[in-house]
Structure formats: C-alpha cells, structure tokens
C-alpha cells in the first residue's frame, strides 16, 4: 500500500554544523546569535554580527550547507592606558545544514545595522497537498 506523506509532517530542520574553518592568525571565530524561521514561502536566517559592514559579509549555500562569515574591521586606538572589554573584534562564522527543500538560486542576503538576514525560497509546494485515496 502506498504511503501518502503530506508536507506538513516533515518539518524542515536546520542543523548546526560543528566544523569551523581553522584560522592560522587568530584563535577562532565568534559565534553569532542566530534566529531561523520558516514562513509560507521562505526560510529566513538572521544573524547578529555587530561591527560587520555590508562589504565584509560572505554567504554561501552549497547542497543545503549554508555558511555565514562576517569580517570585523576595528581600528585599534593608540596609547591605550587601560581597557575593559566584554566583546572582542573577532570575525563571525556559523554554518547550518538545512533540511528543507530550498531553491539555492533564489538566496538573497541583506546586511543592515549589524544584522545579516538571509532569505531562501522554499522550492517545494508551500501548502499541503491533499492526496486523494481511491
């Protein structure tokens, strides 16, 4: 008997990829806070990357692997006497494996006020398809 599987039972998942590119010059990357949500038509990934300008962002999607990279340009001050730092001028990096069927050609990214927003259009049908059982 054929199993009819509706789209709704299969929720898209966005799994974090543990690997992180190794950096020679510095210890590692800063992990940006990320929200991922799903609307009727899109998967929206929003990452907080304060200190990153529009030109310093790299977004790539390859067979469901979404990588986000943001480079921080910080000028160091001269003659620093004392300092107290709660956040460091580190570059941001995070990667996710998206389980949903997305149209990788439709990816758009926007960088505004230190927030990177990536939108991916879902390639499957947006609504549940009712399958008639004979």
């Amino acid at each position: 008997m054929a199993q009819a599987k509706s789209d709704r039972t299969r929720k898209p998942r966005a799994e974090e990829v543990e690997t992180c590119p190794v950096r020679e010059d510095r210890g590692g990357y800063c992990v940006p806070r990320v929200d991922i949500c799903e609307t009727d038509r899109e998967i929206v990934v929003a990452a907080d990357m304060p200190g990153v300008e529009r030109s310093a962002v790299e977004v790539a999607i390859d067979h469901g692997l979404l990588t986000l990279l943001g480079r921080v340009t910080r000028k160091s001050l001269k003659d620093v006497k004392q300092f107290y730092e709660e956040f460091l001028p580190e570059d941001y990096y995070r990667a996710f494996r998206l389980d949903a069927a997305v149209d990788e050609d439709s990816v758009s990214a926007e960088m505004n006020r230190g927030v990177l927003t990536v939108r991916l259009r879902k390639s499957g049908p947006a609504r549940v398809r009712r399958i008639e059982v004979r």
Partner: protein, 146 residues
C-alpha cells in the same frame, strides 16, 4: 605577562576590576538587572591619555530607538530593539536573539568634558568618545632640580 593558569587568577581578576574602580559597573550589573526587564548590552571601555571611549554592541537597533545621556558622572545608554516582522505564518526553528528594552549605566572613572562628547553608531556598534576634562588628563610634572 601573567600566566592565566596561575593560582593567582583571583588576584588578577581583582586587579582587573580595580583598574577602573569597582564602582564602575555597580549600577550596570545586578541591581539594574533585577529592577527592570531590560537586557544588558555588552560594552567596552578604553582609556587613553586624552579620552575615554565606550563601545556598545547594539545590533538591529534603529538610531531613533537609542537614547544616550550623561548625568553626574554617569553615562547611560538606553533604548529598545524592535523585533522584525515577518508576514504571514511564522514557525521558529531556532531562536537565540533577544529583543525589547535595554539599558546600561556606566559610572565614569574620570571627569570628562561633556560639551565635546561625540557618538557614532554604525553597523550595530555604538562608539562614544569622551574627551577627558583638563584636570583629568595626565600631566607631566616638571621636577625642579636645585
């Protein structure tokens, strides 16, 4: 360079908080935290011979939702981060960012010249440069030999 694995780590930590005076973050930390629903943005404070520079991480905050004021030697950074609106049905797969009101009060360790304070806000980072007032700046003291 002090090794961080030293058993004197507590001494090092105490020295760090003594650098700017322990009272520096007294208002910005626990008391304020419990009094309101505001979140605490992370800040940096850098001192040079001429200036104090305060930086705050405020991604996604619009300039009109940000309020910076100075009173009685305290710098107050306050505002609200509004959540972006998505149209239609929204399901969250991951939610890590926080929104809503924020506030941080920093007691400045030295006197600054309020008239010459400059603030710049770009790419979600607020940078406030506070020039030290003339009596706060380091002065070379000439030693008369005689």
């Amino acid at each position: 360079m002090l090794p961080l694995w030293d058993s004197d780590f507590d001494t090092l930590r105490e020295e760090m908080s003594n650098l700017f005076g322990r009272r520096l973050f007294s208002r910005g930390l626990l008391p304020g935290w419990f009094e309101s629903n505001s979140s605490l943005p992370r800040v940096n404070m850098i001192e040079t011979p001429e200036t104090l520079t305060v930086e705050a991480e405020l991604p996604g905050v619009e300039p009109q939702d940000l309020d910076i004021s100075m009173e009685g030697g305290e710098l107050r950074i306050r505002g609200e981060r509004k959540a972006p609106e998505e149209k239609g049905r929204v399901d969250y797969l991951r939610r890590e960012r926080s929104f809503g009101p924020f506030e941080r009060v920093i007691e400045l360790p030295v006197k600054v010249d309020v008239e010459r304070v400059q603030a710049k806000f770009s790419s979600g980072v607020l940078q406030i440069v506070l020039p030290k007032s003339s009596e706060s700046r380091s002065k070379r003291i000439e030693v008369k030999v005689g």
